[in-house]
Symmetry: C2
């Protein structure tokens, strides 16, 4: 599977990269939010646009040909830094910081601002789906039963307000290469969206595991 | 329902705003992409960060207190410019430009770059869910049967490659306040993800319609 790139960075090198990219990507997230909400005048918008275009031109002088992919080393889990939900270098991602345990549970407390809106003041239903797809996959991986999403079903109980939220997920059961997981998003009043999904270990990963090749433990 | 704000802008005023915000938000989208893919040195990242923070500070001098919501006028549909899928002022949104007809069909050709990645080189499964939630809701609204998502089920047939894609959706059937819609995402090789969903007209909208109050025709 191309794109899972083994780079064997040390823990120290990874921390160094994170301390560089975390605050930079946070600044870009703030810009995304400000671009939606700003009410400054036309000239100021045009000035900001020209400056942003200048920054982009400089950043693009040296860049990856395609997307970020997933880097991984000899130990630890992969670094999906371009991932649309958890990617620390991706300003589309809130990003979620996911905690997990070996029993196949994953959970995350996070904040969604103006950039995740669907109906006024509410989280876009599809954003809850995006987050739950990631969380159920994280639970499957955490329990040693990684897979890619085969089916996912969302039940919307009520609107999810923009703001501070929590997501939880867990493995329901597992049979060979198939893992069923469940989860939900909640606010302080309780559950707003529930999800269930089937995750299947892809063939290329089964072949790599059979050949005892280095394989990432999660398929973000 | 707060957040659906009637502003009665003229068609000309709307076009004027779009011609200001479209290229600005596109520049921010380019920055999101460049932030993921850049390989320039640490000093250049720090310089870019400081500049972005400066732009944000200026944009925030005058801004909406909360999220953008949906603006609408006497005629035409609402302007969900902060929407996470179609919002022209939201750099998280690709954004999709959705076409529709009265029979309850909606379709869109769009491009997903590095910011929408899940597994390496592939669209995040949850991003396909996000797009299909929007598209099925658009189909329901286009057919005069708007609603908010109650349930949504995704079937992943194979990985969706990053790049040029298409999404289509249509109303399957409708009973009173309930509408069932289906749709899919496809690449040049065919369908990659299928979806079915149930959309229900919320009580507040039923009450407004009964009272013949101005009501947006879509619930993004």
């Amino acid at each position: 599977m191309p794109g899972y790139q083994r780079d064997d960075l040390t823990a120290e090198q990874i921390e160094q990269q994170k301390s560089l990219y975390d605050p930079f990507t946070d600044a870009v997230r703030e810009l995304v939010d400000a671009a939606i909400r700003t009410e400054v005048g036309e000239d100021e918008i045009r000035t900001a646009q020209a400056e942003v275009e200048g920054i982009v031109a400089r950043l693009r002088r040296s860049q990856l040909e395609g997307s970020y992919g997933v880097r991984f080393g000899a130990t630890g889990r992969g670094r999906p830094w371009g991932n649309a939900v958890v990617g620390v270098r991706n300003a589309v991602a809130p990003p979620l910081v996911v905690e997990r345990d070996d029993s196949g549970r994953a959970w995350s407390d996070f904040h969604l601002g103006a950039a995740y809106e669907g109906p006024p003041g509410l989280v876009h239903g599809g954003v809850s789906a995006l987050i739950l797809d990631q969380m159920l996959g994280e639970a499957a991986g955490a329990g040693g039963k990684p897979g890619m999403t085969a089916t996912l079903t969302l039940h919307y109980r009520r609107g999810t307000p923009l703001g501070d939220l929590r997501a939880e997920a867990w493995i329901e059961r597992s049979e060979g290469i198939k893992t069923w997981a469940r989860g939900h998003v909640s606010d302080t009043e309780g559950v707003t969206v529930e999800a269930e999904g089937l995750f299947i270990l892809p063939r290329w990963a089964r072949e790599q595991l059979a050949a005892d090749e280095a394989t990432p433990k999660f398929f973000e």
